[in-house]
């Protein structure tokens, strides 16, 4: 029983990694551009389509094809900030939100035009164990049972830890990180201090676009069906994770992402208990409702610091 429970928790490892990457991207943009990027999911989908197309037409393996995909994500992010936001006449935060929403429409319309409308798109994980003639899962004996872990989720965990770890190190120790943190606390003051805030926001958008595509490729590699809006749920969860963990720190949203996905898995596990089998339908309702209650009690988020408002 306990082994099954831990196995179930481990099965959400991949979703946790993906949500963490998306949540970090959302937070980075929220802190440097004070807006929520609704196009996060669709830019990610666009990059994932590029990787999938290279895989289908040229037979390029995904671990190689992911780089052109990430490049597309980075360029899309840069495009939003450098071409759209900076050319506009005094664009305010709500205006920026609407612009990212318009971008969602353009990408949603554009993807079928570029890539056609296939029924299903073939895809593979980074390490295609089946093609190599090996088992895709690892079995580890544990507490009188067996733990089942997919190799793909372990690889993704490694990549996520590496990417997020180096980003946090950059934030903490590099000059760029200092500039980001200064811009996040006040853009106009940062500008007065001689920080090139334009470069900071542009790089943030580029990183966010790239992280989104990486997350999408991981998600698709884990068996998710690629579609125009297949990242929307992840994106919504990433926003909510930001609120739950608190946007005031960079690590808060990551904690939120882990908590949301683990809570969802736990509620899902309850369904295997006799008498609770109907609970699967209510899974997300319960998780979201719990989250709303937490936020009402602690509006600044689990790890957030209270906002000081000045007149």
């Amino acid at each position: 029983m306990f082994a099954t429970f831990v196995s179930t928790l481990l099965s959400s490892l991949l979703t946790i990694c993906i949500t963490c990457l998306s949540a970090f991207a959302v937070t980075l943009i929220f802190k440097t551009s004070t807006t929520t990027n609704f196009a996060q999911g669709s830019i990610a989908a666009l990059g994932c389509y590029v990787t999938a197309d290279l895989f289908k037409k040229l037979g390029l393996p995904v671990w190689l094809g992911v780089f052109p995909g990430i490049l597309v994500g980075v360029l899309s992010g840069l495009f939003v900030d450098v071409v759209i936001f900076r050319r506009g006449r005094s664009v305010n935060p709500v205006g920026k939100q609407i612009i990212t929403m318009g971008l969602v429409s353009i990408i949603f319309g554009g993807i079928p035009l570029i890539f056609g409308n296939p029924e299903s798109i073939p895809f593979e994980p980074f390490y295609n164990a089946v093609a190599a003639g090996k088992k895709p899962n690892l079995f580890v004996p544990f507490a009188g049972g067996e733990l089942v872990i997919t190799k793909h989720s372990l690889i993704c965990l490694g990549i996520t830890l590496l990417v997020l770890g180096s980003l946090f190190a950059l934030l903490k120790f590099s000059k760029w990180g200092l500039a980001v943190r200064t811009t996040a606390s006040s853009e106009s003051t940062a500008e007065l201090m001689g920080i090139n805030t334009h470069a900071v926001t542009a790089v943030s958008w580029a990183i966010a676009g790239g992280l989104g595509v990486l997350a999408a490729v991981m998600y698709a590699g884990g068996g998710a069906k690629i579609g125009v809006s297949f990242m929307t749920t992840i994106q919504v969860n990433a926003f909510l994770a930001g609120i739950l963990g608190g946007f005031s720190t960079f690590y808060g949203p990551l904690v939120g992402a882990v908590v949301i996905q683990l809570a969802s898995t736990c509620v899902g596990f309850l369904a295997t208990v006799p008498g609770f089998s109907g609970i699967t339908r209510w899974n997300m309702v319960i998780v979201y409702a719990l989250m709303l209650i937490v936020i009402l009690i602690k509006p600044q988020g689990l790890l957030g610091k209270p906002l000081v408002k000045k007149v």
Partner: protein, 342 residues
């Protein structure tokens, strides 16, 4: 300026007259279609657009006057739609009772969201309402994935509601709600909301109760959205929550987008914005063969239009109209001066 003004343009400044003119035009479209001059599908699409316009004018008050951004609109539309289904289809009750139930439930929901808005603000509030909307959508989906109302279960004052009937019903409700909001924003309530939007602290110092006006604006926006859902079930009569995007973030964003590109402080601007987002696509572009073959282009054009308007006219279409008007008046003034000098 003591110059005599045209009595017609004076009359058109009154919201009542504007609404009357709009209703006459919209009813005229229906009559033309009844006479076979305009296609039926056009009127049907116009009815659909008007439903979203109802949702939008409530949202306009919330965003443009109270300054609160919400992304929960889709969830509230869903609440209205499901109440309509349970009241009219399952219980077989008349429309009026469904209307009363929708208003009552959404009133309660609006008060709850209003209280939430006292705790958190800004983009946090937007994401929080998004979470609430997702909760509602998942809840509704768990209740019943597909809802459908049979035509003979739709009764208004004992008579079944036809397609024409539902169109006039939507138009009537639109006119009443528009008049309500148009008067509200010119009253002390509207001014209190504007004060609150510009600075909560200053407004409080002037003795404006944040709680009262935030609750009021959320109640109005929520009730209007739920009414939109109710009317959707009267007009379209079927909804598949599991697969359609109607109750997802897309709808909330479309409403927000329509209001912003129309001009968040202008009711007619918002209506026009909704017309751009929902109406043009379903009423005109879908009739052109090129767009029928490539529906993706419609989505792209809408997106591009939204981006361009927000980039260059942050005040939306209302600002474009205003700037044109100012230019026109400036030119007239110059002409007058020139005539004076000579």
């Amino acid at each position: 300026m003591n110059q005599k003004q045209n009595p017609i343009s004076n009359l058109l400044k009154k919201p009542g007259a504007q609404i009357l003119l709009f209703v006459a035009l919209a009813a005229g479209v229906q009559l033309l279609s009844g006479g076979g001059i305009l296609p039926n599908s056009l009127v049907y699409a116009l009815g659909n657009t008007l439903i979203y316009a109802i949702v939008a004018i409530g949202f306009c008050l919330l965003l443009g006057y109270a300054g609160l951004a919400s992304l929960g609109t889709a969830g509230f539309i869903g609440v209205g739609a499901y109440i309509a289904y349970y009241m009219m289809q399952e219980l077989g009750l008349p429309f009026i009772l469904a209307l009363a139930a929708t208003i009552a439930v959404s009133l309660l929901l609006g008060i709850i969201v209003g209280f939430i808005s006292l705790r958190i603000e800004g983009i946090y509030l937007a994401i929080m309402t998004l979470g609430l909307s997702e909760t509602i959508r998942n809840l509704l989906m768990a209740l019943k994935p597909t809802i459908k109302i049979d035509l003979n279960n739709l009764k208004l004052f004992g008579t079944p509601v036809s397609d024409t009937g539902s169109y006039y019903l939507i138009l009537g409700i639109f006119a009443v709600l528009m008049l309500l909001v148009a008067n509200l924003i010119q009253s002390p309530t509207g001014r209190a909301m504007l004060a609150m939007k510009n600075s909560t602290s200053a407004a409080q110092a002037m003795g404006i109760s944040l709680m009262k006006y935030r609750l009021l604006s959320f109640v109005i926006a929520t009730v209007f959205a739920a009414l939109g859902g109710l009317l959707y079930m009267v007009h379209v009569r079927t909804m598949t929550t599991a697969t359609s995007t109607l109750l997802t973030l897309t709808t909330s964003l479309n409403i927000l987008g329509g209001v912003v590109i129309g001009g968040a402080k202008s009711l007619w601007g918002s209506t026009f914005g909704i017309f751009i987002i929902y109406g043009i696509q379903s009423m005109f572009l879908s009739k052109i063969q090129f767009f029928q073959k490539n529906p993706a282009f419609i989505t792209m054009i809408t997106g591009l239009l939204i981006i361009l308007v927000v980039m260059f006219f942050p005040g939306g279409f209302a600002q474009i109209v205003w700037e044109l008007k100012m230019k026109w008046q400036g030119r007239k003034l110059k002409e007058k001066e020139a005539a004076h000098e000579s």
